[in-house]
Amino acid sequence: MLSVLNLECLRGERRLFRNIGFALAAGELLFLEGKNGAGKTTLLRMLCGLTPPNAGEIRWQGEAIRRLGGDFYGQLCYLGHQNAIKEDLTPLENLCASTRLADEPIDEGAALAALEQVGLTGREDLPCRYLSQGQKRRVALARLARERRPLWILDEPFVALDAQAVAWLSGVIGAHLARGGLTVMTTHQAVEIPAASTRRLRLGA
């Protein structure tokens, strides 16, 4: 469903990678690996369509994502390095706002249920400023509990999470793959994600 052809990335005068190519089918999980600065985040941003590649093409269901535009974004859930949450808003407000901005609003009951899943019960109405790093990350991840878009692109989703949250997130990603979804992610932690097919791509090798 997602295919990548001869991707090349230049950053200033440095070539981060070239001739990257792979194809990912429904239910497959791809781990991007590599040292810091190898271009993992850049590749993820290219897959989203945020950064145009210097050469090569990315296709979703056979069609170049450049041409699909909004139709592709409707199939995509991207969680970046930053949490995209506001310190001044509560977890509940943040979750509702982020689903609304993604144009898939959920009601308050569903949002509360999602926050319960990530273990934030009792903190729904506390401004995020007062939460720890791990808790903030969980607010951002709570969106995944109800996310049904087929392609997930996750940049270091496990950072700052405790063992319990790691287990929960692995389960959510596993369920997504079992539903026929695709996931491309980076992580520095060794995690067990139940997947029919797990692949690895090493950058800067």
Binding site: Y73, Q82, A84, K86, D88, E93, A97, R100, A102, D103
Partner: protein
């Protein structure tokens, strides 16, 4: 589509209300700039009355300019802007929402407080009305054009100074028609023509500027 614009406005206004100090400091800056002029040129009522439309409008321009960097910067650094850029609707709509929200928390308060400053300059009552109305319909154009500048300078060092260099020349039309309307009203003339042009600039600014700003934001996110 409209729903998205409303969601963005609601979110931005809510965030602004959580931090009212930002809104207030813009307002106080506006009042301060306008109050400096009498100290600079002397307290003669006749002179001040002549200067008032221009001084108050220049103050409004500078106050708007001051609030522009906040328009996208926080969303840029905390990752929200990426999410907006990857939403299934056009980014221009989100920018339109952010522009309108910016107007609600910066332009609208300026319009409400402008007549007070006009009183300081001894403007006649009919000119005060026109002043408030002109600032009311002129500031959307300032927010729209400002959005382009804010998007272009996003994440650059020295962005604030650069922003004013880019945006102020483009604000000249608003200044001319805005101050012209108040001038006309103070001189007992009909300000309608000025106000029409001001409204046209605002409509044009809100219709076209968000798309240019969206293009600039995509460039900044690359």
């Amino acid at each position: 589509m409209l729903r998205v614009v409303l969601h963005v406005i609601a979110r931005d206004v809510r965030l602004a209300l959580r931090r009212p100090a930002d809104v207030c400091s813009t307002l106080f800056f506006f009042m301060l700039v306008a109050s400096l002029f009498p100290l600079g040129v002397g307290p003669e009522t006749e002179v001040l009355r002549r200067l008032a439309p221009g001084v108050i409008w220049v103050g409004a321009l500078l106050a708007t300019l001051l609030s522009l960097p906040r328009m996208f910067a926080e969303d840029f650094y905390d990752g929200t802007l990426e999410q907006l850029a990857l939403a299934p609707y056009p980014l221009g709509l989100a920018v339109l929402g952010k522009t309108l929200a910016h107007w609600l928390v910066s332009g609208l308060p300026l319009a409400l407080i402008a007549p007070l400053l006009g009183l300081q300059f001894d403007l006649p009552p009919e000119a005060l009305m026109i002043l408030a109305f002109a600032v009311f319909i002129g500031t959307p154009a300032l927010s729209g054009i400002g959005a382009i500048g804010a998007a272009l300078t996003l994440g650059l060092r020295g962005g604030g100074v650069l922003l004013s260099l880019l945006v102020l020349p483009l604000y000249i039309s608003v200044l001319v028609f805005g101050a012209g309307a108040v001038d006309a009203a103070a001189g007992g003339l009909d300000p309608a023509a000025h106000l029409f042009f001001l409204a046209a600039l605002a409509v044009g600014g809100l219709a076209f500027a968000p798309w240019a700003a969206a293009a600039a934001l995509r460039i900044a996110l690359e």
